[in-house]
Amino acid sequence: MYIYDQYDQKIVDERVAQFRDQTARFLSGQISDAEFLPLRLQNGLYLQRQAPMLRIAVPYGLMNSAQLRKLASITRNYDKGYAHISTRQNIQLNWPALAEVPDILAELATVQMHAIQTSGNCVRNTTTDQFAGVACDELEDPRPYCEIIRQWSTLHPEFAFLPRKFKIAVCGSMEDRAAIHHHDIGIELVANDAGEIGLKILVGGGLGRTPAIGAVVCPWLDKKHMLTYLEAILRVYNKHGRRDNKYKARIKILVKAMGVEAFTAAVEQEWSALKDGPTTLTNEEFLRASSFFESPAYEQIDTQIAASELQTQCEKDPIFANWVKRNTQRHRVPGYRIVSISLKATGYAPGDITAEQLELVAELSDCYSFGEVRSTHEQNLVLGDVQISQLYTLWRQLQGAGLATANIGYLTDIICCPGGDYCSLANAKSLPVAEAIQVRFENLDYVYDLGPLELNISGCMNACGHHHIGHIGILGVDKKGQEYYQICLGGSQSKDASIGNILGPSFKQEDMPDVIDTILSTYVELREEEEHFLDTYRRVGIDPFKERVYASAD
């Protein structure tokens, strides 16, 4: 993974010192609430219902074991002993004290971490595929591109006071695991006719109040132009994005208002002044960035022996066999598997992880996965490089810590924002709904029979729980002071991206498990053979679901 040199360290250290001074000035009354707001947000700090919330950046979801141990110690010393993985691969602390946040940032800086631009109207943490570098369907590793974007966007002087937040995601594989169609800028690595890898640039995707799928503004861009082109897009947005209404301020609204063609022309115009300037990337820079993501020292493994041993272990222990089937994935190197660690055990808030669990995962990553861990936008963790022969030992240790729930990609692997229990923006609670659904569908055989199913819950229109792109999406709404829940069906975060359609009037919290049950049994009746939920929905449309759900409600 990327390792700081003295330049990176200096920038982060100076940022910590700056924020320490800003916090001191705020606490002594020299800075008003309104002035402190963007300063603290750009250091990841929200003032929430119960306490401040600190969002720590995990650049493109990659961490090492030393960082996990530091996070564990921070949650113990400054918080309540647990942390939360966000839907943008970041890590959130729910209970820090404002006056101690500069100390937390200083501790993070000792392990090359920070909270820069994890919130605020600026370029946020760039996200990518959690299986980057190990996936079988990868054209090129997206992480060097992400790191180059991270450095360019960090404390960029021109783009710190944009009309609204700005999110970039990069995908380097056949399957899109980074939801690039739903970002302000989505970058897909693609080959041109000559086989050279370049960038397809999408602009104006997003969730929130006005969900939109990104439009292609450049079908293939030479990678050396990546930063100047991004700079041109940001400049058009900074100059022309709406600032009169925060709900119409995202770049998707500007792209819609101008039209994709006019928007693209404006970008090309700005780009003509920046193109081939000093920000044009050099081969040396790509080589430098790539050098941090080279393959670790994989062992030559006799895959036949490994496979037959695994077979024997699976036959002896069906629970292990099931976990292997559900929570591990093929690795591009024979003899290795990609292991997903589910943070979706029933009874625990989706994405939450305790200090002890963080330390255990750190230990396991050191023993079995070259000391690296990835966070996912589905709010789970991944050990990217596990030898098949070590899966059983690994699983036993995960199981002992409640980290072996075999539900990755299934109904109960719910994406869920912190909701009204923590977040001051929320209209409704989301965690109890997630838990009620997990409790109702505890029968794993039924859950597996349903096949791959993404259920996403957001507590408000800001859509941190990505409800629009869940196969089933749930949105908390406020109806005259009461918490209600609206359902949408048919969303997809993949390359066949789509935005879910609203089923109809919203429901009370206590009715939600029944409503989900009705939707699922309707699907089971209508599906043909092994058809997945999304395919059935796309074939039959929303009406059969609507009829059944609202008929049973009457």
Binding site: P157, P278, F292
Partner: protein
């Protein structure tokens, strides 16, 4: 006399503030964009841009202009950062001044976008603001005060 930070020092402001209601041009007064466009002779002129007024109209006269003021009615409106950078990228070499309600915490960003003068609506904290200009000493991006991005300045990697 109002004070401002210019080239890293606190100095008195010798310019008279822009006044959209005063139609006649007078020596030493900053023009609004409308007034400036009507100036017959732009030699030694000073012009103030509001958010939404891109510097496009100025680009042909950059050598004649002595002062461009970018007004920040509110510090969260970041359009002026792009305007400033635009002007410098097109070769403007006169004084580039941020004026209005912005924060000392934005000074390094402004300086990096090409601003060399800062006039706060509230000039009671200028000494503190001077300190904020030294918040950062290293940067990743190319900018007006450092035309090469860090990746072109890093010593050959020893990684």
């Amino acid at each position: 006399m109002p004070r401002l930070i210019k080239n890293g020092e606190i100095v008195n402001d010798s310019w008279i503030a822009a006044d959209p209601n005063n139609a006649g041009a007078s020596a030493g007064r900053i023009c609004t964009l409308q007034q400036w466009l009507q100036l017959p002779d732009k030699e030694g002129s000073a012009v103030q841009l509001e958010p939404g007024e891109e510097p496009t109209a100025l680009l042909d006269s950059l050598d004649l202009i002595q002062l461009v003021v970018i007004h920040f009615p509110v510090f969260t409106d970041g359009r002026g950062f792009s305007y400033g950078r635009n002007l410098r990228e097109h070769g403007y070499r006169g004084e580039l001044r941020a004026s209005g309600y912005f924060l000392r915490d934005q000074l390094t960003y402004l300086r990096r976008c090409g601003f060399d003068a800062f006039r706060f609506d509230d000039d009671s904290q200028l000494e503190g603001a001077l300190a904020s200009m030294k918040d950062f000493t290293e940067y990743y991006q190319a900018s007006i005060d450092q035309p090469l991005p860090l990746f072109r300045r890093r010593p050959q990697s020893t990684h």
